[in-house]
Symmetry: D3
Subunit: 238 residues, 6 copies
């Protein structure tokens, strides 16, 4: 039995509250149970130096946790003067994941920044960020297409992410904080609509797992991502 009473392949309540803030070109508050992340997409009519003049766009991500998103207050990275390795690792993952479904030539020479700010944390903040960032990015791209700035859709497919893990020997889907803290192994999957894998990050600091374990987690991730893809589609259709 999971601490939350969920079945092994059951996700937490999932919601995408679009237009949560008014200024960004795309904005959504994504909730995976008690994990809540505000994802915004900001369109900038410029690209990083290494892309200037190439006619291609760029998509990048930034991530942060509010100091009291967690059980005990964490110190503010801006006050400490640097971002932790964990923060940098997560924001690199967010950027790569979204870029895996964007055709940069069709996006044109502009950058879209995806800011993922964790308002409340209960496990799975990086996967909620990726899943929410897709919605914010979709809304921003829809806006560019509605204005005629982009003529062909640069992002025909969805991307979503979910965490899975092995808890007390049982593979389970969408870990909350309690499960995450005690899991034997923990994996984040970033999947693309249609079945392909964009990224796997499977770590086993306490225990380790074999090939069969990895595959069982991947199958759970497919179940989870299918649910997320459906919720994403519904959110942007509104």
């Amino acid at each position: 039995m999971r601490p939350s009473g969920r079945a092994p392949d059951e996700m937490r309540a999932l919601s995408f509250e679009t237009k949560f803030t008014i200024h960004a070109e795309g904005s959504v508050l994504v909730s995976f149970g008690n994990t809540k992340v505000l994802c915004t997409a900001s369109v900038e009519e410029k690209v990083p130096p290494f892309l200037r003049g190439k006619g291609e766009g760029w998509v990048t991500g930034e991530y942060s946790m509010l100091p009291r998103a967690t059980h005990t207050r964490g110190s503010r990275e801006a006050a400490k003067g640097k971002q932790s390795g964990r923060t940098q690792e997560i924001q690199r993952l967010i950027g790569r994941s979204l870029r895996s479904v964007v055709d940069m030539k069709k996006l044109g020479e502009r950058q879209i920044v995806l800011d993922c700010d964790v308002i409340q944390a209960d496990g799975g903040t990086r996967t909620a960020s990726i899943s929410g960032a897709w919605v914010a990015l979709r809304l921003a791209i829809d806006g560019l297409m509605a204005k005629g700035l982009i003529t062909e859709d640069p992002m025909p497919r969805r991307v979503a992410a979910v965490s899975c893990g092995i808890c007390d020997g049982v593979p389970v889907l969408d870990l909350d904080y309690i499960e995450d803290s005690s899991a034997d192994a923990d994996a984040n999957f970033v999947l693309i609509e249609g079945g392909h894998i964009a990224e796997v990050q499977a770590t086993a600091e306490g225990a380790t797992y074999d090939e069969e374990g990895l595959l069982r987690l991947l199958r759970l991730a497919r179940i989870g991502c299918d649910r997320i893809f459906a919720a994403q589609a519904e959110a942007v259709a509104k």
Copy 2:
């Protein structure tokens, strides 16, 4: 006529949504119109080095704006590696304002950190932060008292803040971003329930004002803070 159609002494819609997040000892989303700030109070059973062993507590504030809280995206202070002068000035003001109504001996040797994170900005973020921080602090202190950790209320009075300014020669209350950008003079008042002044920061970069102008702004601030005091009282009574 003000851009928003408000009367000169009319505030924007005001709301305090308490328990907006679940982990903090006090949590509220304060809205002054489209300005929305998440204020949390975190109780820590330790004090800064200069107070250790003195039997007194401390209250401090931190402030940040999410990168896309504003019309155009601002860069993330954690990524730049330092907090701007503006951020530091505001968080110092938040701390001083709240300390003006707290009896540190009655609080006991513990620290309460007030995190004010601007989710969406439309002028007056520092005054909304102070007004919201009082609610978060009140909830945290109520919790300490309910647990018997504090026996006598260290914060018997409320503190609130509001911005006023002179726009096209007319003194107006609670400036939104449009008014703030074009005001001749701009003042932030931090007032204490009962009529005393905790802090005045009146700046006139473009124009300047005389004694009479300052007094008219102070009178508007009293009107605004009285409305805020009432809304604060209602919020914590729930």
Copy 3:
């Protein structure tokens, strides 16, 4: 009775020693009693990026305290690798205060940096800095006019600043360190020759004050600034 034996509305000995250093376009050592600040004005034939090509100038301030300007040695901000919130707050105030009396179009597309370095501190270093910076700026502008680089005076009025406070219930002018440490309330006024207010920063961390208290401090500030205006006039006339 004040610790220094001064009357409540009596300022400390005031002096402006111009041309204290030889390289700067304007240079003055300002003394308010034992508080001594070296203020220099440096003319740079360039403006910050946000003003380029607009035909307007800029005036900005920087502030620092020598490590042993005070009773006990403070650590050097350059060694710590960042400026404190207090330093940033003060240098922002210096810049705003001086800009309130400068017509940026008449100054032309150039920047004047006002460096205020506290050689010795005994209370009121920020107000002495503003009062001294005006003298340095005046000398620098006079130099530009003498060279024909500016044809119309961009700074026809003086600006000065002084601190006031309530000590043992009595409003007093120009606080020294002993008074500053024990004041119930403390306010810095930046006034413009002719009677207008450029900035008020009134703080009451320990106690608080009412409208009448604020007005009494403002009246003291007028007395003090009138004395400073006269001394500034004399200093630049030499």
Copy 4:
């Protein structure tokens, strides 16, 4: 045909030159073809604050590339004043990988730091670092056991890592720089002697891959790690 003429499941020349430097408790220069990393293990009789007094040890990793380890000179992180996200991600991976095979209670309350400094880079620097760090750690632990400071071996199994990728549709083992730059997908596997997986990091920024692709890469990784395990055993036996 691979650019190097290797078969798809063929690794580059592999060597572990132990005692490459004299001061460290464990020291090895590991080469995977032209990729050369100096790995040292430093034993410190103290642990990080979160472990003090718990009777457990810690193993951590640090990683850096010499500025001219690569085709074009990279700027020095110490001169820039911060480590890149890539560096932090890699050193976190090194630490987790080694900790997956160490029993911290048997290590006792001490820390071993694994420094991995890339002398020359030609793809696969992070996997070479992990494979070499195991050798340095083994030598350091052997030293502690020889001195009687540890009585029971805290690291009975080996850990090794290798990169695999899909190049022109073909899964290949141990990518060099040319392959790495043009691979459709790229995965790093950290495997434990005996067949278990410690970590998988599979990324597909350009293309993506399916479950079958992931499994084929995992099988190549097993081939590679078996070769590395044998070479590690031989190196420490000397």
Copy 5:
């Protein structure tokens, strides 16, 4: 002929204005012509961690130039967030030079910090700093001895420094800025009363010099330091 009209072995006007500031245990404004440095000695009843409990003291130096000490304004190191290599090199030199004449056991377990802040620069700021720091240190030690905190003089000898150089083929003493900018070779000598050498830093970026050239500069340095020793003695005798 030197630009200043001085003879090759002639120093600039030299003065030590003691008690220039009131708070420091030792304070002097040293002038070598137009080079003016404020040197203060601050006594701290603690030592750096590596000396705790050893019964020995420490002497260290810090150095900074005010932004407009020079012909064109330099940016403030505190604002840039780091000290330049030049600054660090100079402050290390100041510390070593003064430590060469202090018996740390006799000083007792306390630290004296020598702050050297350049008010105005015209060449030779590091050598003026060392020469002035000795005076400030002497005054601070005299104060400790007068209070009975030290019983035996820990600094029986003087130390002084001067710069020499080869300009247009002629060895000259005490270079001002014009000479310094165009010198073929430039050397700073730190000498101890009685004839010994504490430090030589001789650099020849443009040209180079031979053994004879080095000796001729050393002889000039002796002439200069003898003059400085006499002035130091007179300054502290007042």
Copy 6:
């Protein structure tokens, strides 16, 4: 008797292993006994801003020690976020020393960066760095000349450096770590082939020395540098 059994004027085993790494335009592992430094020269077809468009080149140096190059592990400067004063002082010295033998006009508008990374330390790392950097620079310049990018040799002479010191009253050449730790005085000499002095840095923190002592150290340095010049010549001739 020296701890190593060497005669006072005897250097340690000296070797220059060229082409130690493959990517750099010049690469050498220099050994002075157990001190081993990897020196690489990187040619960049650009110059620092202050030289742009002047038709002149630039040569600069960077220096670092691997964390476990020494007896006890030092913390990594990139992790601490800043380079120590010692590091900056040494890299400034390396740059000046090499520039003393290069004709910048003949080098043309390009920069050569000399990276000196200490793999293993046993005293004299800065002097080994300079001596090795000359070899790396020579190889890089030879490459530019072979490609016809430079027509006239910009570096006709060699530069080398060695440390000398007074140990137990005896002047000795090429100090190892044990001697360096206990020397009464310590001097680094940078000499140019043919007999001229590029730089002397003679420090006497513990004791001091007289003119005769300085000359005796200089004579030892000449003996040492002659040996280094010969070894450099042989290394580049291969």
